[in-house]
């Protein structure tokens, strides 16, 4: 798939591919997203704001220039930000592909890093020469101010122009805890939220510290996604319960929302509060909460793609991939979107009986499955 290389969150020609529970494909302009929701559905978004997590500076022991990409934190508590995990690069910046970036100087515990107004100390290496735990000096307010002033959004070579914070904050961005944008949420604007409300669709949020999507290092990439802390508000738990009672569907906006909800649901009953999502979702995962995911397009082999395998069979995803490619869908964070419903043949045994009943009594399930298959569909013209 070709990369979307301009930082535009909602291009007017953005496209949507809908993969139904029965494996049917449907093409639509993304401006029609709201029409795929039904009365009683619930959309859950990640309202994490994106940190400017790329910090350029100097490794003081060697004098070498480095780029530190903050990558993880153990909690979301706003005053618990001394210690981060971080991926360290050598000289250069995002214009070089991460795979081609120079290695940093050898790092060891005790090294100090001068990062603009910030000073950080390497606490230890995390089983990899480029992945470190580091601690910032100073008060929480001073650290936040330093990150705000000096940091830049993490970005990759496929987008050439430097990203500003407003390029990577979704319309509902709140707590600054994401290391990369929860980019599925770029589809949201206030007009969409209004349209959903008019359709009788509820909207809720959680806060999930979306981590790096790529490090350029095969060994590190294999460890993605790192553990990600999240906060699930009581209002969202309540909204999910109401949705279930009304036989509505829970639609997760993005992989981070799916990961957080399914992690929270693994300790039943679903409860509000803080958690640390440490599971990897894939073909063998049972989805307890999420009925469909709206996400960017992802390429096979990435952790994001693995997560889609929890929703649909490999055969269906392969057809979807071919369709995305054949129809010029764009990938990466500013690209087009997919809507993937949890396949009817995916295991749902772990759901409660009541929820299972709610599933089969979906009002429009029959109409959908009788929709004709589209083997080689044509694009509907946008607008």
């Amino acid at each position: 798939m070709k990369a979307a290389h301009r930082p535009i969150q909602r291009p007017r020609d953005a496209k949507l591919l809908v993969v139904s529970a029965s494996g049917l494909l449907q093409y639509a302009p993304r401006s029609e997203l709201a029409s795929f929701f039904r009365r009683g559905d619930l959309l859950v978004a990640n309202d994490a704001a994106t940190l400017p997590a790329s910090l350029a500076g100097i490794h003081l022991r060697s004098g070498a220039p480095i780029e530190v990409r903050l990558a993880g934190r153990r909690s979301l508590a706003v005053d618990d930000l001394r210690e981060f995990s971080a991926v360290v690069f050598g000289a250069g910046d995002h214009r070089t592909r991460t795979e081609d970036r120079a290695a940093p100087p050898p790092l060891r515990a005790g090294d100090t890093l001068a990062l603009g107004p910030l000073k950080a100390r390497v606490l230890r290496l995390l089983d990899h020469p480029r992945l470190v735990a580091l601690a910032f000096d100073g008060t929480p307010d001073a650290i936040w101010a330093g990150i705000a002033q000096h940091g830049k959004p993490v970005q990759y070579a496929h987008v050439a122009e430097p990203l500003a914070l407003w390029d990577v904050w979704t319309r509902v961005a709140a707590l600054p805890v994401a290391f990369e944008p929860p980019s599925a949420g770029f589809v949201i604007d206030w007009q969409l939220l209004r349209a959903l409300k008019e359709r009788g669709v509820e909207f809720a949020t959680l806060t999930h510290a979306a981590g790096l999507s790529s490090t350029g290092d095969a060994a590190l990439d294999a460890r993605l996604p790192f553990d990600e802390p999240y906060h699930l508000p009581q209002a969202t738990v309540d909204a999910i319960a109401v949705t279930r009672r009304r036989s509505g569907r829970v639609i997760a906006l993005g992989t981070t929302v799916t990961r957080a909800l399914e992690h929270a649901a693994s300790q039943r009953p679903l409860h509000a509060g803080d958690g640390l999502a440490d599971q990897k979702l894939g073909a063998d995962s049972v989805l307890r909460i999420v009925d469909a995911i709206v996400s960017g397009t992802h390429e096979p082999g990435t952790s994001h793609y693995e997560l889609l395998r929890a929703f649909a069979s490999d055969a269906v995803l392969a057809r979807a991939d071919a369709a995305l490619l054949a129809n010029g869908y764009r990938t990466h964070e500013f690209g087009d979107s997919v809507w993937v419903e949890r396949s009817t043949d995916r295991p749902a045994a772990a759901r409660t009986r009541r929820l299972h009943i709610a599933q089969v009594s979906r009002p429009r399930a029959r109409a959908e499955s009788s929709r004709p298959a589209v083997p080689l569909p044509r694009m509907r013209s946008p607008q």
Partner: protein
Amino acid sequence: MSSPLPTLQDLRVAVTGGTSGLGLALVRALHAQGARVAFVARDASRVQRVAAELAGTHGIVGDIANKTDTHRIALQINAALGGLDVLVNNASSLGPVPLALLADTECEELEAALAANLVGPFRLTKALLGSLSASARDRRGSALVVNISSDAAVTPYAGWGAYGASKAALLHLSRIWNEELAEHGVRVISFDPGDMDTPLHALAVPDADPASLKRPADSARELIAKIVAEVAA
């Protein structure tokens, strides 16, 4: 001093222009009544002084008239308070000093007044709508944006063109936004604090008798009563 209002306890409030005049009085009163307060101002040393004086408040250095500062400020507000319930857009620019007739006002002076009094509050509010709407969902009460207004927003005073026009625009922006955001539980209101004894007023009317002017602390108390009424609604 009135007794502490229970509804202010732990309310997360951000105030721009928080190191002088009404903003400072507001920060002091909110802090005294148990709110969690972040404040924004341009001058680092003044921000530091106020933050040191009022332990537990969070001082943020930034210029709301500057586009590139907006998200940095919003980030620090959200981080300092863990979200936001109330935003008070208080920072204002008078326009040309001394006050000038509109026909003598340079376009750059009008633009600067619009940047500080209209576009700045617009941008900062927009950047903070995520946390404000999250507050409304979580608390099941209203989140609130207060835009500080003036009678010059309504009455055409000669010599107050840049200020009056920018405040009139802000007043109308508040009314439209209040309509649009009602469904998300975010209220947007205007508050006219009256003629106060503040640095801004001294710039506008250098020979005014301070005794004839309201004390900022009195206006702050009125505004806090209004905030309490709105967020409890």
